[in-house]
């Protein structure tokens, strides 16, 4: 039962901030009269994917900052769990009321007329074939995830989550994070990098395992590797929506993305099979969600939105210092898009 609740939390919660953020965005655009209300309505599937991808990043952003604040205040796992709960309730309530206010404002402005999407091209058989194939590939990959061996070298995420949960019972009232070496369970003899204190992913997993009473290895091996690819695929739909106007091309783009993601492995930029046996790692999160979200923000020319993954990346990856992939991508694209010859060429071709 608690596992079902966990799945509901992971797959439904991001929709609230996502739809809330889209409502705000729409309100701003309508008030600035950039678009007319009816033409801006997209099909529900696209709106769902946009909401899920934006909501996921926003939720991780808030939880990442909460984790950083909790570690700064040396809170234990139980206190951090409570902080997570309070922050999430406030966060979700605020966005929920934003959606309600937007709906009320929309009804009072346009009446109760059901807006229909603008006329679209009839998709044809290729649309359905590609879409069905991409869904089949995704389902097959997730089944492989259930049966595959689990990655056991280099990374120590699972041990860290277990050590947080294991030491919590003994050190109630005090911070139970990073008290012991996760690989041995013994107290640190020479210490550990202070950088680890600000890593939010092990804390996030530990809080989930603790709150929903799920064994950490079940959470990390079977539940999370289903969640990240799902969030990644919704991002691909959103990116495809920005890139193409033609519906068939949008679906083809999505199909190629799914094919590249689940049928091969193209290095760090496209993890592929790594998701199957190491889907819980920070690299999966950064590669699938943060980098793609940065690209999405840049393609939409919403540069401020790219700040979220830029801030979130150092909280997710156990780096020491340097510039992150999201920062490099966002800054480079921003500078390149402002170059005169690029602007001139784009304007000339698009007309």
């Amino acid at each position: 039962m608690k596992t079902i609740l966990l799945l509901c939390f992971l797959f439904l919660c991001p929709l609230i901030p996502g739809f809330g953020a889209l409502s705000i965005d729409k309100l701003i655009r309508e008030s600035s009269k950039k678009v007319t209300p009816v033409s801006s309505i997209k099909p529900f599937f696209i709106r769902f994917c946009n909401a899920f991808s934006i909501g996921t990043v926003l939720m991780f952003f808030v939880l990442g900052l909460t984790s950083a604040a909790a570690s700064f205040l040396s809170l234990g796992l139980s206190a951090t769990s409570k902080a997570y709960a309070v922050v999430l309730i406030v966060f979700l309530t605020v966005f929920y009321f934003l959606i309600v206010i937007f709906k009320l404002a929309s009804i009072s402005k346009n009446g109760l007329v059901k807006n229909k999407p603008a006329s679209q091209e009839k998709p044809g058989k290729l649309y359905y074939a590609l879409f069905a194939a991409s869904i089949l590939i995704s389902v097959f990959a997730l089944l492989c995830t259930l049966l595959s061996k689990k990655y056991n070298a280099g990374d120590q995420m699972l041990e860290t989550v277990n050590s947080f949960l294991g030491t919590e019972q003994l050190q109630s009232g005090t911070s139970s994070l990073y008290k012991v070496n996760p690989l041995t369970g013994l107290e640190y003899t020479n210490g550990y990098p202070s950088r680890l204190n600000f890593m939010f992913m092990p804390v996030f997993y530990a809080v989930l395992a603790r709150t929903f009473s799920v064994k950490p290895y079940v959470l990390l091996w079977y539940i999370i590797p289903a969640f990240y690819p799902f969030a990644g695929c919704t991002l691909f739909v959103s990116i495809g929506d920005v890139l193409f106007k033609d519906k068939t091309k949008k679906v083809m783009f999505y199909f190629v993305c799914v094919f590249l993601l689940f049928c091969t492995n193209l290095g760090a930029g496209a993890l592929g099979f790594d998701i199957v046996y190491a889907g819980y790692r920070e690299m999966t999160f950064v590669s699938l969600i943060l980098v793609n979200f940065t690209l999405y923000s840049c393609l939409k020319k919403k540069w401020w939105l790219a700040l979220i993954p830029i801030i979130l990346e150092p909280l997710a990856v156990s780096c020491k210092f340097g510039i992150g992939a999201c920062f490099a991508l966002a800054v480079s694209l921003f500078i390149l898009s402002k170059l005169p010859f690029v602007k001139r060429f784009s304007e000339k071709e698009v007309g």
């Binding site: 056991n152 277990n162 294991g166 996760p182 193209l266 760090a268 393609l299 156990s318 898009s337 784009s346």
Partner: protein, 322 residues
């Protein structure tokens, strides 16, 4: 600070093989747009609004594809990501999918059969450019498992047993176990302490802690690995390892002059000296039952067999030291 180097050039190539292909694809794209080679307005109009993305991808791949030019991004990124992960700078999946989709109108001018064959060829090319994930090295497969290593699921019964023993005692339960069991213990529960950790000499894990192991722990690790591999409890060839250490504090009277089981007995005493509460080792058809009985009796210890499959084929023996 992690130095940026390309000592493991195979790893680099393995993880970035696709870059060359993408580089070529980007060059073609730029030629099609800027050089106006393509007469398809549709392609130009699809790609033109995102020219900056293609310039970025082109520059990034040009830097990353050659080890020498990869120095520049590596200088800033290698402390963030290992050199093999520098490909994360480019959102490969959407960029490649965008290229393929944008060029799909080119298929319109072809015969239906030729178009289908082209698509299939492209898919095969994409599969060939990829790999099976994290590179296998030193007889370790893609997921990091050694040959004939038991899986986590196979070890679950012994892990449950160890946690059960631990729950009867205080937290200070310290166990010396075979490498596989040691690794899986910490996957299964965070309440058990082990004398050494998974991949204890793996440098990549040193970014997570600065702990180092003593020579005694090192010797016990080698002994338990020997037990795991050969199933012999007495470890006849152990004397060369033990010669380097001072065992004056150990209770040699208990050994009773039996040279045959001396090696194994010494290691058990050493483990006891280091505060180990129990030793868990695998037993199989090669395991010397006499040696186990002898040591248990001579050192007044207790122990129990724990069969995962049939006893003495792939079971475990837990020797309680305290």
């Amino acid at each position: 600070m992690a130095a940026f180097n390309f000592n493991n050039i195979n790893d680099y190539i393995y993880n970035n093989r696709i870059m060359a292909i993408l580089l070529i694809a980007c060059i073609i794209a730029l030629f099609l747009i800027i050089g106006r080679i393509s007469k398809s307005d549709e392609i130009r109009k699809t790609i033109a609004p995102n020219l900056h993305v293609f310039i970025y991808v082109l520059c990034a791949y040009a830097l990353l594809v050659f080890p020498l030019t990869a120095f520049l991004p590596g200088k800033f990124q290698s402390v963030f990501y290992p050199p093999t992960y520098l490909g994360i700078l480019i959102p490969t999946v959407p960029v490649l999918a965008y290229l393929i989709t944008a060029f799909s109108p080119l298929l319109n001018g072809l015969k239906r059969s030729v178009a289908i064959i082209s698509v299939i060829m492209l898919m095969i090319l994409m599969l060939l450019c990829g790999n099976m994930g994290i590179a296998p090295v030193n007889n370790v497969d893609h997921a990091g498992y050694r040959e004939n290593e038991p899986s986590f699921e196979e070890c679950l019964p012994i892990l449950e047993k160890i946690v059960e023993i631990d729950s009867d005692k205080a937290y200070d339960y310290l166990i010396l176990a075979t490498p596989s069991v040691t690794k899986y213990i910490h996957w299964y529960s965070g309440e058990i302490r082990t004398l050494y950790g998974r991949d204890m000499w793996d440098n990549s894990l040193y970014s997570m802690h600065y702990d180092q192991y003593s020579e005694e722990v090192n010797a016990l690790y080698q002994w338990i690995c020997y037990e795991d591999a050969y199933g012999c409890f007495y470890y006849r060839d152990s004397t060369s390892i033990l010669d380097d250490f001072d065992y004056s504090s150990l209770d040699y009277d208990a050994l009773d002059g039996s040279e045959e089981y001396l090696g194994g007995t010494k290691f058990v005493l050493l483990a006891k000296e280091l505060g180990v509460d129990a030793i868990c080792f695998s037993v199989n058809e090669k395991t010397d039952r006499k040696a186990i009985d002898y040591i248990t009796e001579k050192l007044s210890l207790s122990g129990e067999f724990f069969g995962v499959g049939s006893l003495l084929t792939d079971g475990y023996y837990i020797l309680y030291l305290n």
